[in-house]
Symmetry: none
Subunit: 180 residues, 4 copies
DNA sequence: GATGAATGAGTATTCATTCAT
DNA sequence: AATGAATGAATACTCATTCAT
């Protein structure tokens, strides 16, 4: 059993559920069955642990975009992307909760600044690539709107409206973007 | 000079800039030139102060929606709404920062639960009213999408992309929703 | 009972006996019957408390030098000064222990830098004044030697030689400096 | 490259510069490119390492006193001793810094108690031997004064006065003690 | 001899809250 | 309404030491 991995796993869960600032390292230690010193040893500080976790979620996002799309039309690619995104949104709320959380909180935002910039420019680039293939006009602005809309859906679904009509919105989004 | 009002003003600014959890009441006291006891006296607790502030921002949102629209077409109303929203987004970032912040943070989310629900259902209702007047099909789902898109734009503009093309996106949004 | 004063008193004693770095604030709190927060409240930090204490000991030194010497010859002044110094050295070891301690420890030395410089230049000035009155040649260098010798005596008496012949050395010193 | 020796060298430097209590073994390990376990292995504990270092500095002091003085008069011996001492004081401040440090700090004082006593009685004996040869009256007390004065000079030169007139004081000391 | 993961007690500091005045 | 001394629980972090490899 790798204790380092265990810390990351537990901390990810707790940071997502309770928020970064509201999660004491002592709680992480307790739940992960690990001493306080070990976090210092492996991650140097709480912020260091946060960065490690954020990096891991970025890798996950990168992987979602790396699926082999050789024999798909751009529209099919977009549909698949939306499909996997909406699936994950429904199945793994905490993943999105965590990411929203740390990007909005001024404190964590600062700690993760470079990593957030790196990730978000990657997402923008990938989106624009698809839009360019589909030959959408004004692809940069449209990519920004596309990303914003999906982020807004996450935000409203996760944090604001209890009866958010996720499924129907998914259909509308696919209709709007992929079936042009 | 009303000290109660001064506390609210300073606290709003600090909570917005630094996040709720990362703002010590002692800092609020110092900046507002006020003793610690006075916050307890007026607001009972830090959470109480937060609720008071959130209520005030809700009132502001309500006011934006209350502008007299008697002699406007629904489309004109929508355009004006979008206009004032994008203006405020550019001029008063902290206002949106604060609201995003407290809605995404699990802790504050819990404290404000009832107020958030009240506000968001108000916003949904108002949006749907306009969409119904415009006679948009599937108005509930479309209202959700509309709100989500605007929230997503705030999120991306404020917290993620440094060179977010706000102006162009505003034009696209108006084109999309109001000029049908 | 003034708790602020109580903290200073207890801390002075403990810092002297155990050294600054080896004295936990929790120990000070326990002995002074005071909560941990109160030290923060009054002194901001452990270093702040140290500076306060060092300032107080400086005041004591200043007072020793302020005794009315109107109707004394310079030699009589010097004898009286030596007398009170040697008395205090024998009766209040901790006082000297503390001062040696914080001036030699790199950490505390840094924290107290400005205060140490201020104090030591005061002592040098006062010594030189007397030496000038006695009309001693090369008074600046001789003042330095005088101060160094007394500091060295403290150091050896307090910290090194268990059977240090303090009384006889006092006589020799008086013979050497005051009876020229 | 002998790692044991390397640890001693680095630790001596760091203890001197930063003080014993303020120097973490992890820092020593890092600077010496050595694992934590190795210090335990070689020196058992941090205190063990300190004792080893103190012993080494004692040996250095012994060597200074062992220089062949067969064909020198006692006065010449004393001058040479003072000369080498003042040279070292100017060239190797850290050496004296370290020794002052550990003798004044209650914690380290306790750990090194036996070694300090041994060393200081050696120094006293050696000094008294020379003074006896010169036929100085009251040689024990005078030896104590001599040692104290030199210690005081170190203390004031290293830790208190930035513009301490070391060279002139050296001349005065030689005049006073060696040219009688 | 040498490593480094792991421990756990200990440290200064923070902070919302209480309460006498 | 207003102050600020006082509390005490909580927090991130430090660090010497142990031990399996």
């Amino acid at each position: 059993m790798d204790k380092r991995e265990q810390i990351i796993e537990i901390a990810t869960k707790l940071f997502s559920e309770r928020g970064y600032e509201n999660t004491a390292l002592s709680l992480v230690c307790e739940k992960a069955n690990v001493s306080k010193g070990l976090i210092s040893h492996h991650f140097k500080s709480k912020d260091g642990l946060l960065r490690e976790i954020f990096l891991k979620t970025t890798q996950l996002i990168v992987e979602i975009n790396r699926v082999d799309k050789e024999n798909q039309t751009p529209s099919e690619q977009l549909i698949e992307l939306l499909d996997s995104l909406f699936s994950k949104l429904a199945s793994d709320k905490l993943f999105f909760q965590f990411n929203l959380n740390v990007m909005v909180q001024p404190n964590t935002r600062k700690v993760l600044d470079d990593l957030i910039k790196e990730r978000s420019s990657f997402i923008l680039k990938k989106t624009k690539e698809i839009f360019d293939k589909i030959d959408i006009e004004n692809s940069l602005v449209m990519s920004h709107m596309f990303i914003a809309e999906l982020d807004g859906i996450s935000l409203n679904y996760l944090g604001i409206y209890e009866d958010f009509p996720l499924e129907q919105i998914k259909k509308e989004i696919i209709k709007k973007y992929a079936l042009q």
